[in-house]
Subunit: 473 residues, 2 copies
């Protein structure tokens, strides 16, 4: 059967675009090296019709289909299982910008486009495509859509979902739904678009999307702010939202321990607040439609008021683009700094912003009780209530010893996020890594609704099986 | 069976909260008086548990359930059919604000809350709930959610969908899904929320919602602008988006014929541009986080540039709150002005903004060919590509003669919107009035996907049957 399917796929796409597992190892292991799969074939269709034909061929032989973008996901949602039964679909040949419509402020792109290329195309047209995240140089918009990716500009522009107006999707039966609409308003039936966005390839295969563009800001201002306590940062955020409105485009938290780690791992990098005693910092970005002077004035007004109201301990305002980039480098280097310091336990949680302080205090204390000496490296998108609540090994212990407690420690963190009204996956999705956790945090009613939708749109459970939801066959 | 169900409902809710059709006529005819239904009972549950109990009682006897908010919808989506088999659910007793969380900028309200009351509660807490539309004094948030209502602030804040973070829903089986999350980021499974929003009570019954709040703008500036042609208004819009960014909070088009109609029907009302010859006007609103002076400066800069670049023929800037309110009154009086002038044919269409000019030119000409002398009253939310493309009778004909052509004329308008990449219902939904049209404009693939979802979530087709989709039992 496998050989018959392999031959059919070669016939459909041409032999050059169908690989065997042994020739395509780079696609079979997830980014973090945790999961490795086997497949009948890795296929690279040229267009939507070919994707549909591949799906039909797979359905005929009941072979599961896994779709993969830039393989940058953290939940192994795009890694096939080890059964060797699946076909892995790469959309790397589908990387065209189909339409750019500046009057409508929309862009229609194929799913295989690299995110950074889309940002560049928009900028060349005098527009902003605001989705921005660490992996932007290699992740694809298809992956961003499949996981409803977040990033650093969600505060102002929303997640990938909010940036999407229309989709083209290949269904589980290999039919093509053309929903590539460039409309801000369209109330004609159920919202299929938002169902596919974030479904991680388990309900359909997104092959193209119509995305929103925005005016390019005329100026941006950046500052690194120091806070005497986390509650002060939360209060400042509220003040900044009122003062800057939608011009507040980023508010990224970094703990003092994060700053120290950055100094240690990047001694050649920027060293702001070298002798500061504050426990929390935040990177603030203001975007302005008027210009540099105006941005600077708004910055000074709002920061000045904050100082007067004791909503701020200290501020380092970037005086140039180079200084602004240096400040952003701190945030951008956080993942690498942690990697260099050895593996740690990452938790991508969100809570209501009003619960941030309680969540951090409670969870930090809980961890010290159960795992004395573990070190928190907490940072992230405070403006969205989304923390990367990462936990490193105690200094008197080893990384390996620490990592043996991963399941138990993570459960405490996730339970705490849940107890504070939060989510166990703010922006990274469920994939296969968290699929076993959903039953703990979702009600039976919600799980049942999700399973009904899965069965309705993929009755044979062939689309990325085992991801997002455990489904009984 | 009907009597048994009536008795059960009385037992569940108390006799005072269960009405017979003859005592509840105001709920049985739609706002525009086009459809009248009959029901077994009109019920007014006090809380979500009672809603669930009503649904279970109805399911046991296979009685359909229709939910109704303020009965202000234009598509008769909340009007039961004439069979007398259904139970009509009013949530008017469920009108509590459950939680207001200003640190998180969220508000949790029950579905029966009047929209204006929610706006007021937010304002008293120093926040903005931006959903704003003509019926706000009587429509409920449950109806807004069910229809994904739009209104005048979509340009900046989005439709009801974009304002919603969490939902509480009673399912077709009478179970309660508590999805009342106040999270900006939560990627843990399928997006049930957006599926229920806009589903017009056909997939589940929304009983409460957690909504986004925003900072109250410190100042607003309003102007009425005159344009030499529609293309100029579209080009100005692009300029204004770049210049004002997210501070551009409304851009409402009015044709010269609309202004003339307003003068005629409201001779006591404002009379701007009395002797102007321009064919198109737009109401522009800028919201500002800094203050009056700043708003005024931004206004003058952007409008000044527009004059220099010939993107604008004339501008009337409101000098006071009273003048601003007078300008807004023009837009707000449009529905009433049309009503006073006699019935006309309303079309709530949207097209990509880049297609607005072509759509209007093409459709206006087409109508004159097929229905000589009909008069266009075109206005609406140009910033969202959403026009209320309304057509009045020829002056040498009568309203009644004109209205006999409704089906035929509307088909031309809808076909034209569709041919220009548009939607036949931008913000009013499908209800029962447009249910027969979906098959013309949606692909079989899309209709099939929608039907599968309907069957998955409401397998017995008891939730608002006959609305949105035609479903085979």
């Amino acid at each position: 059967m496998s050989e018959a399917l392999f031959a059919t796929l070669q016939q459909l796409l041409g032999a050059a675009h169908v690989q065997r597992s042994e020739d395509a190892a780079q696609y079979l292991t997830d980014k973090q090296g945790r999961y490795t799969g086997q497949v009948i074939a890795v296929v690279h269709p040229a267009n939507t019709e070919e994707v549909a034909a591949v799906v039909r061929a797979c359905v005929a032989l009941e072979a599961p289909i896994v779709v993969q973008g830039g393989n940058t996901g953290l939940m192994a949602g795009a890694t096939p299982d080890a059964s060797g039964r699946a076909v892995l679909l790469l959309l790397d040949r589908m990387n065209r910008v189909r339409v750019i419509d500046t009057d409508n402020d929309t862009l229609t792109v194929e799913a295989g486009c690299i995110l950074q290329n889309i940002q560049d195309v928009a900028r060349e047209a005098g527009r902003l495509f605001p989705l921005s995240l660490g992996a932007e140089g290699s992740c694809t918009i298809g992956g961003n859509l499949g996981t409803n990716a977040g990033g650093t500009a969600v505060l102002r522009y929303g997640n990938t979902r909010e940036l999407t107006l229309g989709l083209e999707v290949v269904t589980a039966e290999g039919e093509i739904w053309n929903g590539l609409r460039g409309l801000r308003k369209d109330n004609t039936g159920y919202d299929l678009r938002d169902l596919y966005v974030g479904s991680e390839g388990t309900l359909g295969i997104i092959t193209a999307a119509t995305l929103k563009l925005f005016p390019l800001p005329k100026a941006q201002a950046t500052a690194l702010l120091a806070f005497d306590e986390l509650a002060q940062a939360v209060a400042f955020l509220s003040h900044a939202r009122a003062g800057f409105g939608a011009n507040l485009t980023a508010f990224e938290l970094l703990s003092a321990d994060c700053l120290a780690l950055l100094r240690e791992q990047f001694p050649e990098g920027p060293q702001p607040f070298l002798n500061a005693s504050q426990p929390w910092f935040a990177l603030l970005e203001l975007s302005d439609n008027h210009g540099e002077t105006h941005a600077r004035e708004a910055f000074e007004t709002v920061l000045g008021e904050a100082f007067e109201q004791s909503l701020l301990a200290d501020a380092l305002i970037a005086e140039s683009l180079a200084q602004s980039e240096a400040l952003w480098l701190l945030r951008e280097n956080m993942s690498e700094a942690q990697k260099r310091a050895g593996r740690n336990m990452k938790h991508d949680i969100s809570v209501p912003i009003s619960q941030i302080v309680a969540f951090v205090a409670h969870t930090d204390a809980l961890l010290q009780t159960h795992f004395p000496g573990v070190r928190n490296f907490t940072f992230g998108h405070l403006g969205d209530g989304n923390l990367h609540y990462n936990v490193a090994h105690p200094l008197d212990s080893t990384v390996d010893e620490h990592m043996r407690n991963y399941a138990e420690l993570s459960l405490l963190v996730h339970d705490s996020a849940h107890a504070h009204g939060g989510s166990i996956s703010a922006e990274h999705g469920i994939g296969q890594r968290k699929v076993g956790l959903l039953g703990r945090y979702k009600s039976p009613v919600e799980l049942d609704l999700m399973r009904r939708i899965k069965r309705a749109l993929d009755p044979k459970n062939l689309l990325n099986p085992g991801k997002v939801l455990e489904v009984q066959p």
